[in-house]
Subunit: 278 residues, 2 copies
């Protein structure tokens, strides 16, 4: 889905569609069907990667999800990541850093959460929070924030050298869509637990968050770890588009079933000729 | 599914069916459909439990899977556990203990892997390995092994007091089914990576493993943490039966959506009356 790839250069999020469905002409029902149809392909590719990981390969995937509140990171986890075998997935949700985490470099907790070889790691928020809320809320000195973009690029380049295929997705919703989704949460008692009055306070900072996203996207949109901006006003398209990107990443890795490191026919004979077991 | 609950007293695994389908009269296709139909109910219950966990409740589920090689622990993870939102699941696969783990009490690594409140934890193998392979392979002194049954019961009672609902499943396959499944792995190059010549050596110890399972099942089949023995020769039934048990456990907990701890109407007004955002 190269159409979703953010071109290099300055980023203007208001100029990027949040309600389009690039690469797909069907409606919601078609989109949900297309996602379900991706399931077997994703499952096959993921299992191959997992198998490869048992034989010394360092290759793995890291799907990184960023986006404003209600942009649907949880929905992608449930509907898209949920298509693949949970044994092969490692999800980490990054909250506000703990006391211990704050005493370390901002990448410390990130490095501890990297997927093992053969695994599809998923970050629900990530080190980008340290140049997003970190910048908007002034959680560090401006020059510290400033230094982080380069540190992130160095870190991601290092990951790529170590076999990590990074898929960085920004789930792009409009402020109006966020407002609708917050209103839905308030209207449905089964969703009250997802709402926090602070969510409305954060909306007042929307332009600041937008600017922080624009800076982060521009400065970390590297050749080796590009950004994808996913129109996310339509949940079904958002889920499908991330599915495509995950499929493309796995497909590009072309993981292979490991060859047997034993004599298959000899083992077949052993099994045939064993003493009765019960 | 009380039919699957192991009755108290001595256990004779050869007398327990491995190819039956208790509680279900349909065929494979019906069983797969029934499992898929469980999905929404499981997802709803799991999300309620998760929501409850955000409000101070300590309740969680621990699904514990044991069984001989090829009994299908991985299949249950993929097909049954895979039905629920991966954000609410924590799977731990216990391998042979590491150097560090061997230097600690056998429950040390288990305690570190317990699910957080609101989470469905899944153990693929567990502390029971320490009275199964531990006994068969003589990995500890007989009196040490002997002491573990009581320690396990004490530990599980403590978990129950701390809000953990334990679902202990023994996936029961016959030796013949295992042989067929090993032969399938050998016949299919895509499955060679799952095969190890040592798997055939282990089969020679089948009666010892059976005796170890029988002792473990009998001695840890407590009121508060009973065992379920799942006929597992038919993969579809095994997946469905574990789904039922998970559903029953969650249903019995009756998790409730948390009530809003804020004034819903006041927040609705705030959202309505906010300054335009973009």
């Amino acid at each position: 889905m190269s159409e979703l790839r953010l071109p290099p250069g300055p980023v203007d999020l208001r100029g990027l569609p949040s309600d389009a469905t690039p690469g797909f002409t069907g409606d919601k029902a078609d989109g949900q069907e297309a996602l379900a149809a991706l399931g077997p392909e994703l499952a096959d590719l993921q299992e191959r990667l997992f198998a490869e990981g048992t034989t010394g390969s360092h290759r793995r995937v890291l799907l990184l999800l960023q986006g404003m509140d209600t942009s649907g990171k949880g929905g992608v986890l449930r509907h898209t990541v949920g298509l693949i075998d949970p044994q092969g997935v490692r999800i980490t949700s990054f909250k506000a850093p703990t006391e211990e985490e704050r005493q370390h470099h901002f990448l410390w907790r990130i490095k501890r959460a990297l997927p093992e070889p053969g695994i599809v790691g998923v970050f629900d928020r990530s080190h980008y929070e340290d140049v997003l809320i970190g910048r908007v809320r002034g959680l560090a000195e401006p020059r510290t924030i400033e230094s982080r973009y380069g540190q992130i690029n160095d870190f991601e380049a290092e990951l790529a050298r170590d076999g990590v295929v990074l898929v960085k997705c920004m789930l792009h919703v409009s402020a109006d869509t966020q407002k609708e989704r917050l209103a839905e949460r308030l209207a449905n008692p089964e969703k009250h637990w997802k709402f926090n009055p602070g969510d409305i306070d954060e909306r007042a900072l929307w332009p600041d968050y937008r600017a922080a996203y624009e800076a982060a996207l521009e400065r970390t949109n590297t050749e080796i770890a590009p950004w994808y901006v996913i129109p996310a006003d339509r949940k079904w398209y958002r889920n499908l588009a991330v599915g495509w990107l995950l499929r493309d990443a796995l497909h590009g890795m072309n993981p292979q079933w490991p060859r047997a490191d034993f004599d298959v026919e000899a083992q077949q004979r052993r099994l045939e000729q064993e003493e009765p077991v019960s």
